[in-house]
Symmetry: C3
Subunit: 148 residues, 3 copies
């Protein structure tokens, strides 16, 4: 692949860090959504959570998450470019995610994030976001964030 320019790499890394701060704030849905394009696809199926086809579906899912959780903590590291075609930059990173629900349930996951990003008039945005598990998933994940 052509090498990802350093400024693109830095912009996407910072977008991924912003994502973690936003998801951990557990409020301000607009700020949370602002890092995604309108048509952004979010695929959490590999960890037993939904496939969301656009920002509106992402909003609905995270409204539930923000309502349910009292604490969130997402440590991001191991940033690595996957591809760059001159327009679309894809980065991967490792995330240790922890959550504590208002009902007292707790969860911890060890996963990899993949974000496919493009530059818009309003800055870099994610248009495709995938979570892949790296360690066996705890049973409590589905209890906390799942539909059932």
């Amino acid at each position: 692949m052509p090498q990802m320019p350093e400024d693109v790499r830095t912009a996407i890394e910072r977008l991924m860090v912003d994502y973690c701060y936003n998801v951990d704030a557990l409020d301000d849905m607009e700020r949370f959504l602002s890092i995604f394009t309108e048509d952004a696809i979010t695929d959490m199926t590999a960890i037993g959570l939904p496939l969301m086809n656009n920002r509106e579906e992402l909003r609905q899912f995270f409204e539930g998450v923000f309502e349910t959780m009292s604490h969130h903590f997402h440590v991001i590291s191991n940033f690595r470019p996957e591809s760059w075609d001159g327009t679309v930059g894809t980065m991967q990173a490792y995330v240790m995610g922890m959550g504590h629900a208002k009902d007292g349930n707790s969860v911890a996951v060890q996963v990899r994030y993949r974000m496919e990003c493009i530059e818009t008039a309003d800055g870099w945005k994610c248009r495709h976001y995938t979570i892949t598990p790296m360690m066996p998933l705890p049973g409590s994940l589905n209890e906390i964030h799942g539909d059932t």
Copy 2:
């Protein structure tokens, strides 16, 4: 806010990493203190630990910590600028801190650090340091580092 220059951001990030290495070394108090200004305020009240009004009070608290602990491990990540006014740069970061005391007690915390820093003749230093919990705190924190 005006954007924090990249060289300031890098300097503060590296200061925060140095802090972790120094606190984990559990020796060399002078090196540990050297990243703080004389009048540095350290506010750990949000995790049930003291408010320290200057470097001397910080020394007293950490003399106890270094004496008590056999192992320390502070992983820092999610660096993010909070503000820059042309002189004072404030950065946040996430920290997973672990400790093991000589008496066998263990502790793990998930917190956010905030360091307000200035450049001095002797390099960048922290003048205000705050720890904020991100996950529920374990009972063992107060047992290990607290006064009681």
Copy 3:
């Protein structure tokens, strides 16, 4: 010490991140070995694992690891230069390593990596790699990766 140039620092940081991705992939031994020089020494004795005197011995050890493990997750952070002499660059970093074996056993360690690296015709490579424990080691480490 002379200050490590930024481009050397960045190259070694990225090599260390690549190491984590490669060790976590649990396949593609050639890719895994490619970041080491032929005569690379790997010293894991401080965590109760072997001293390996060259890449061939490293291969033999990791063939066992890749065979035994179903999941690996190595989060790397706290990068810091240790020395630079104009040719050899040494960096340290913190690593939280987790593993899950096919037999159901699990392990988690908190360690420091030290990699002594040089630039070759084929890019930067590690010629000396050491792991140092930072927290007390779990008994399961030797059970999973050890000889006995």
